[in-house]
């Protein structure tokens, strides 16, 4: 097994993957780390794939199956008020490739992109690969990690090419509220930068909040690139289907880049995604109810442990302050994995300054979440006792 010394040199995505590898060596470990929905892909989607698998399958066009692009455009208009056509849609090999294509098509060496802190660190490589740099924009727990437009404006320079929004946020569970979106849209127009809006968790926003797509604001279609996918909404992570919504010329540019990254997305996966996009979305409502219940259960468990956190407004994660344990989050995560057999991620996997925060997912059945909470509570009691002695 890797030692603490091995993993403490790591941060970002490498740290997350090292911890996941470590967890494989821990018998009976409960994974509350990765954002992979445990629920099965809905049966009607699987059935569509089952039928298609037995028939002829052609290599799909680079930009995606026309019917799928069309369905994504229709849903964007119906669900989020983003009035686009199929030429504004590119189907990607998961949302992650979408982000890579966006950054490649948008950023040049020396450019700057504004990124809220904390951040989903898998973005780092897509940005650094272009030779651009990211500029952190602080967000604050007391505002539910919504972004302050004035903090964005303060960091705008002539090199600013884009602002990256993730709403709901991974890792904080914060959302961009409509009034914030409006202010950011004004900034984007005034300073001529692009807003890249990652909305992969957009189907899971908790009452009383509502998901809001910044591309739906009047006049913003030419300023916004929206990223999303089927992985989280339909529990389809293994199918690898994401998408980008952008102006036609940007879609054409990303399609030309995609010819060299992975080529077309697997056809069977696109057929399944088409079934999801055209199907009854009551499955998403069912998922939402399940995740909401889990959120309540895990929240109660974390409170009982004495961890401080703001209620997530969307997504699958709790972003909890671990200061009360008197231990740095990375060390705490290592101990919880070894002693409580629960995998969670330390804040330093999402930004250098978050050494006293933990990201914990709700992506386990309720009884498993209860069990994880019990184990963590017992381990934390021991840690606090040892600290007090």
């Amino acid at each position: 097994m890797s030692t603490f010394a091995d993993i403490q040199k790591l941060d970002g995505a490498k740290l997350r993957y090292a911890l996941m590898d470590l967890a494989k060596e821990v018998p009976d470990a409960i994974a509350l780390g990765r954002g992979d929905p445990d629920l099965p892909t809905p049966a009607f989607i699987v059935e569509a794939a089952r039928k298609a698998a037995a028939g002829p399958l052609a290599v799909a066009p680079l930009a995606g199956l026309p019917a799928l692009r069309d369905a994504i455009a229709r849903n964007a208009a119906r669900d989020h008020g983003i009035a686009v056509g199929s030429d504004n849609v590119l189907v990607t090999t998961g949302g992650q490739e979408g982000l890579f294509l966006v950054m490649s098509a948008l950023l040049d060496p020396g450019d700057e992109i504004l990124v809220p802190d904390p951040r989903y660190s898998s973005y780092d490589q897509a940005i650094s690969h272009t030779g651009a740099t990211f500029v952190s924009v602080p967000t604050f727990a007391e505002e539910g990690f919504d972004i302050r437009p004035e903090e964005v404006e303060r960091r705008i320079t002539p090199k600013t090419r884009a602002l990256l929004l993730v709403t709901p946020s991974n890792p904080t569970g914060g959302i961009i509220r409509p009034e914030t979106a409006l202010a950011l849209a004004e900034l984007a127009k005034r300073h001529n930068f692009v807003i890249v809006s990652d909305e992969i968790y957009g189907k899971f926003v908790w009452e009383p909040y509502r998901h809001f797509s910044i591309a739906s604001l009047p006049g913003m279609l030419d300023h916004v690139i929206t990223l999303s996918g089927f992985s989280k909404a339909y529990a389809m992570t293994g199918w690898r289907v994401g998408y980008v919504i952008a102006p036609e010329r940007m879609i054409a540019a990303m399609t030309d880049i995609k010819a060299h990254t992975t080529g077309p997305v697997a056809t069977l996966s696109q057929v399944a995604a088409l079934a999801a996009a055209e199907g009854d979305d009551s499955c998403v409502r069912d998922f939402r109810a399940i995740y909401d219940e889990r959120r309540r259960i895990l929240g109660s468990g974390l409170s009982a442990m004495g961890l401080q956190f703001g209620e997530p407004r969307g997504g699958f994660f709790f972003w909890a302050d671990s200061s009360s344990t008197g231990m740095r989050a990375l060390e705490l995560c290592y101990l919880l994995l070894k002693e409580a057999r629960v995998l969670i991620f330390p804040g330093t996997a999402f930004g250098e300054s978050w050494s006293n925060h933990l990201r914990i997912t709700t992506l386990q059945p309720t009884e498993v979440l209860d069990q994880a909470a019990e184990r963590m509570k017992a381990a934390l009691a021991q840690i606090r006792e040892a600290g007090a002695a």
Binding site: A13, K14, Y17, R34, D36, P37, P40, T41, A49, R50, A53, A54, G55, P56, L57, A58, V59, P61, L62, T93, G94, Q96, E97, F100, S104, A105, L106, D108, S122, Q125, H129, T130, G131, N192, V194, D222, H223, M236, T237, G238, W239, R240, P247, R249, M250, A252, A253, T255, D256, I257, A259, H260, T261, T262, G263, V265, A266, T267, L268, S269
Partner: protein, 233 residues
């Protein structure tokens, strides 16, 4: 406002040269069965980053048999077609401004090189990476290998089912060759977008990390379909 495009995007705009659509073909019955079985097992989530272990093992065995070289499952990363294998190698192995030599099939790596900010040429002596494909033939490949610098790595694409020559068989190249191939085109699985990359230990971690950053993992069902039908590589 017209959205700004990066210089690399402008350079590639209109250059993808997409082939006209082809009629679909049914997958091999064994691949269909494997897909249906995988769906029954709920294989619809992420796999391990480098791919499912039995497929990595099968690819390693196939490469070992074909080239009489000791490939291990741990050397193998399952990719979204050979395209991703080439791309990941180009992005991870070379730096902006580096030279890539491609005496043949340069069109396969030209776009990836533009994205990396690298230069593609036929100048072998200045290359940090040499791209060669098995279809170019043993003699042509050996000639190229004889001209590259000692620190030049080799990206070798297996695109000729008959050839059993591999650059690692040449003295001095045993740990300098990254092998990529497509598991789809040879097996009527082109629509599944599945391939592989085999890398020496010193480069494997970086390639795996870059693949993870690009696509996390390859399509789950495609991997099971490939496992069912891959015989000869």
């Amino acid at each position: 406002m017209t959205m700004h495009l990066s210089s690399r995007a402008q350079a590639l705009l209109g250059q993808s040269g997409e082939s006209p659509p082809e009629a679909g073909v049914p997958m091999d019955p064994a691949a269909i069965r494997a897909v249906l079985d995988a769906l029954n097992r709920g294989e619809t989530h992420y796999t391990d980053r480098p791919g499912i272990q039995p497929l990595r093992k099968k690819v390693a065995e196939g490469l070992s048999l074909k080239f009489a070289l000791p490939f291990q499952a741990s050397d193998i990363i399952i990719t979204c077609g050979a395209t991703e294998g080439r791309f990941v190698t180009l992005q991870q192995i070379i730096a902006a401004g580096d030279n890539v030599a491609a005496p043949d099939h340069a069109e396969r790596i030209a776009g990836g090189a533009v994205i990396r900010g690298a230069k593609v040429s036929t100048d072998l002596t200045a290359a940090k990476l040499l791209y060669v494909a098995s279809s170019s033939g043993q003699t042509a490949i050996e000639t190229s290998l004889s001209q590259v610098a000692a620190d030049c790595l080799v990206l070798f694409e297996v695109d000729d089912a008959e050839s059993d020559f591999h650059p690692s068989q040449v003295s001095g190249f045993s740990d300098r060759v990254i092998t990529v191939g497509d598991l789809g085109t040879m097996q009527d699985l082109a629509s599944a977008r599945i391939g592989y990359l085999a890398a020496p230990a010193q480069t494997a971690n970086g390639l795996r990390d870059f693949k993870q950053a690009l696509t996390i993992c390859s399509t789950n069902l495609s991997q099971w379909a490939a496992l069912a039908v891959v015989e000869d590589l």
